[in-house]
């Protein structure tokens, strides 16, 4: 294999370069650092030079410094064992993933186009439903989706912005093209890891960071705050904003506290809020205080036991009525989940064309809807090549990765498919691109995806950075943190590297 030789030649002058023992050997997937001919991509050169100049020991040392700092900051989740609860850090890799300016420009344009269209779609389906009248997508598919909220019908949402915070999952296929795999319009998480990873990588590779010319992500919290504030701009210039968390036992609690702290707004739990006379108040030491905007990190189902799930203790009784009365803004609006439904996803290019009269800048992954009999039989015939996903599930649950499954697993899944075809979609198995990661003291390729964060209030802002999720198991394509995934920093370069 030629890449071995090329890398060895590049770094032969260095003393004990870790890249050569053994060499960094990407597989058939697109590699972020090394091109098909085994040469280092220009935008990765600064980092590659630095890695090559550091010994394996030094790299391990930096990795463990990084992990210690995460532990100290409390960037952890709790594992409850038999004897006691232990805290683990979210696995984090020290090498940043680098995206050149030109590629980012396309991603940015594509994501903001997509979110604009999806917000228009939400305003339409909770309003006049023109898109359904025009038959662009089947009425039953939208109105029958479990995440569709009839309660939202004809309800005034400022700027027609239903999804204020969106985290889309992008992947790079074998040809290096970026695809949108999924939109997250409910309560997307991970942005605090983007910021914590950045903070860490600035300390791990300070010189390289400077040299590379990386665009800053640190303004995310204040951009989020102004996005939230813009939601009341028509009637209140300086609203009281709060972050609503399910509480300290939620796995994303660190993020909720982090965002509240950096925005300088109270972090509230359901029990801190009361609704009186269709207005929302929080219990403070000096009595009740009015709340205007709630950035909720609680799922639709749990925000108000009077309107949604009655057994929820996380929400606030009467909150939805206060929202309907226009006395408080909930961000993201309830019911946004229908726009990231996995079956609706297949129609997003049509949705973009319908509202914006433009072609989608970022393509979708080919998607087979099992609700269509013809497509179902195709899926059943090709189960060993496809990834099948349950429409309602997320987080890597309820999913079959055909090529990695056993015959028995595939047969069992086929049964489920035939029993409830509406609930499933299928996509070709895509070899996600790989990026170099430090694994047990060696630099190895691991599959990665990309989750950028898009804010939308009066206007749409894409933060120039992202969370890169890593499938830490060799060969695994599943990057979800609930399934053993980790993360790394993402450097978006301000300029193209000089050729």
């Amino acid at each position: 294999m030629s890449s071995n030789d090329t890398v060895a030649r590049d770094t032969a002058a260095e003393e004990a370069p870790p890249l050569t023992q053994p060499a960094y050997l990407p597989g058939v997937a697109f590699d972020e650092m090394i091109d098909r001919d085994g040469a280092v991509r220009p935008h990765y050169e600064v980092l590659q030079d630095r890695i090559a100049s550091l010994g394996a020991e030094e790299l391990e040392e930096r990795q463990s410094t990084l992990e210690r700092s995460f532990l100290l900051q409390g960037i952890t989740f709790t594992v409850y064992g038999a004897e006691s609860a232990t805290e683990r850090i979210i696995p984090t890799d020290l090498f940043p993933r680098i995206i050149p300016a030109r590629e980012w420009a396309k991603i940015e344009a594509g994501l903001s186009q997509r979110l604009r269209a999806l917000n228009m779609f939400l305003a339409d389906i909770y309003g006049d439903q023109k898109i359904l009248m025009d038959g662009v997508l089947p009425r039953a598919l939208v109105l029958g989706a479990p995440s569709y909220r009839r309660e939202m019908h004809h309800l005034y949402v400022p700027h027609n912005t239903y999804a204020n915070v969106c985290g889309s999952d992008l992947i790079r296929g074998e040809d290096g093209e970026f695809f949108v795999l999924e939109d997250n319009l409910r309560v997307p998480s991970g942005v605090s890891y983007m910021l914590a990873n950045r903070d860490a990588s600035r300390r791990t590779f300070p010189g390289t960071f400077r040299q590379a010319g990386v665009r800053p992500v640190e303004r995310y919290p204040d951009l989020l705050l102004s996005t939230l504030k813009s939601m009341t701009s028509e009637w209140r210039a300086d609203p009281q904003v709060v972050v609503l968390t399910p509480g300290v036992y939620n796995s994303a609690y660190y993020e909720h506290a982090y965002l509240a702290r950096l925005m300088g707004v109270p972090l509230v739990e359901g029990r801190d809020l009361v609704v009186h006379d269709n207005r929302v108040f929080m219990r403070t030491t000096s009595g009740l205080r009015r709340v205007d905007v709630i950035y909720r990190r609680v799922d639709d189902d749990f925000i108000d036991p009077l309107t949604f799930r009655r057994d929820s203790a996380l929400g606030v009784a009467g909150l939805f009525n206060a929202y309907r009365a226009g006395n408080v803004v909930i961000c993201n609006a309830p019911g946004t989940g229908v726009a990231d439904d996995k079956a609706v996803y297949a129609y997003v290019p049509d949705i973009i064309r319908y509202y914006l009269a433009e072609d989608a800048i970022l393509p979708n992954v080919d998607t087979f809807l099992c609700r269509e009999p013809a497509q179902l039989s195709h899926v059943l015939a090709n189960l060993d090549k496809l990834v099948v996903k349950a429409v309602g599930a997320s987080g890597g649950y309820g999913m079959l990765v055909g090529p990695h499954a056993s015959q028995a697993e595939r047969e069992a899944f086929a049964e489920q498919l035939r029993a409830d075809p509406d609930n499933f979609i299928a996509q070709p198995t895509i070899q996600l691109s790989t990026a170099p990661c430090l694994v047990d003291g060696r630099i190895e390729p691991r599959h990665v995806d990309l989750r950028p964060f898009i804010l939308s209030g009066e206007k749409v802002v894409v933060t120039p950075g992202a969370l890169t999720r890593v499938a830490l198991k060799r060969g695994s394509l599943v990057v979800n943190s609930s399934q053993g995934g980790g993360s790394k920093d993402t450097w978006v370069l301000a300029e193209e590297p000089r050729a």
Partner: protein, 313 residues
């Protein structure tokens, strides 16, 4: 303006931190004193155990085990490790309200005491283990004072510290001078240990010289105006903190402030001669009871107030 739940958590961080420090010190002094195989040494062990409310004070003979339990027993709600875990749990719930400097200091201490086989560390060097916890807690308090705004949140935390401290010192003095189960402490060695348990030996010596007398000790720990661990000092701080909190939250007529003012006055204008002649028992019992009442009143005023009274018209 701050969330009632947040104020409550900050207050409890203060209480647990102070308790962890006090119990660490009791255990350290107990271990140190009992290096001497004397009767006074055994008495020191009994004082320490009585001061934390241990019924079986005869364990004073097995000081190593007793000290280890005070520090590390996860079943005992008053042990150092439990106090630190709870302080840290409260801090996690108000992570958005405290500075990173404060949080990291406490988190590091917690991780050290909980995660890295604390039993071995204790066995290796018990006194060192305990003294390091005390030193880390001082760093935490320093970070609180140096990096948090001295506003409402800081005041609730300080309120917890001083209320807890007043009760702990009162309990320690009761154990020495007015407890029926333990004989009144008179031995100079034991009295010195008592001063060490209140972290008061050096400041005491500067005021009274090396004249170790129960009368002066009581006077110092009850009435001294400047020593941060005297009850008088604590009640003055409590009154001051509540006064400022009440002003800012519009709770001037709260029971908490009234009770704190009364307790402060009781100590400020106490007849020292009378306390010395009749014994401090009654006064110490009153201090404990009133601190408990202030605690209840704080909760009623700032945290669990009835909603009907505070709804807008």
């Amino acid at each position: 303006m701050m969330l009632a739940r947040v104020a409550d958590s900050l207050y409890w961080i203060g209480r647990y931190i102070e308790r962890a420090e006090h119990v660490s010190r009791l255990a350290a002094v107990m271990l140190n004193a009992t290096l001497d195989r004397t009767l006074e040494a055994a008495q020191t062990g009994r004082i320490a155990l009585a001061a934390v409310g241990e019924v079986d004070t005869d364990r004073g003979d097995q000081t190593y085990e007793a000290a280890r339990d005070l520090a590390l027993d996860r079943e005992d709600s008053g042990s150092v490790v439990v106090c630190l875990a709870r302080a840290r749990e409260n801090a996690r719930q108000v992570r958005d309200q405290i500075t990173s400097e404060t949080w990291e200091r406490l988190n590091m201490l917690y991780l050290r005491v909980v995660s890295h086989s604390p039993d071995e560390a204790f066995e290796e060097d018990p006194a060192g283990f305990l003294n390091e916890i005390i030193a880390d807690l001082h760093l935490f308090k320093g970070a609180v004072d140096a990096t948090l705004s001295h506003g409402e949140g800081w005041r609730f935390l300080a309120l917890g510290v001083h209320l807890e401290r007043a009760q702990l010192i009162a309990r320690l003095l009761e154990a020495c001078f007015s407890d029926r189960k333990t004989p009144t402490v008179t031995e100079p060695m034991a009295l010195m240990s008592l001063l060490r348990m209140a972290c008061a030996l050096e400041p005491y010596l500067r005021v009274y010289t090396a004249d170790i007398d129960p009368k002066y000790i009581l006077e110092f720990l009850l009435f001294d105006e400047d020593f941060p661990r005297s009850i008088r000092f604590c009640t003055a701080r409590i009154q001051d903190l509540l006064d400022q909190l009440a002003r800012r939250t519009g709770g001037e007529r709260s029971d908490a402030l009234r009770l704190a003012g009364r307790l402060d006055a009781r100590l400020k204008y106490a007849d020292v001669e009378e306390v010395e002649s009749t014994g401090a028992g009654a006064l110490l019992a009153a201090v404990s009871a009133e601190c408990a009442a202030i605690h209840e009143a704080i909760y009623e005023t700032f945290v669990a107030y009835p909603l009907e009274l505070s709804l807008p018209a």
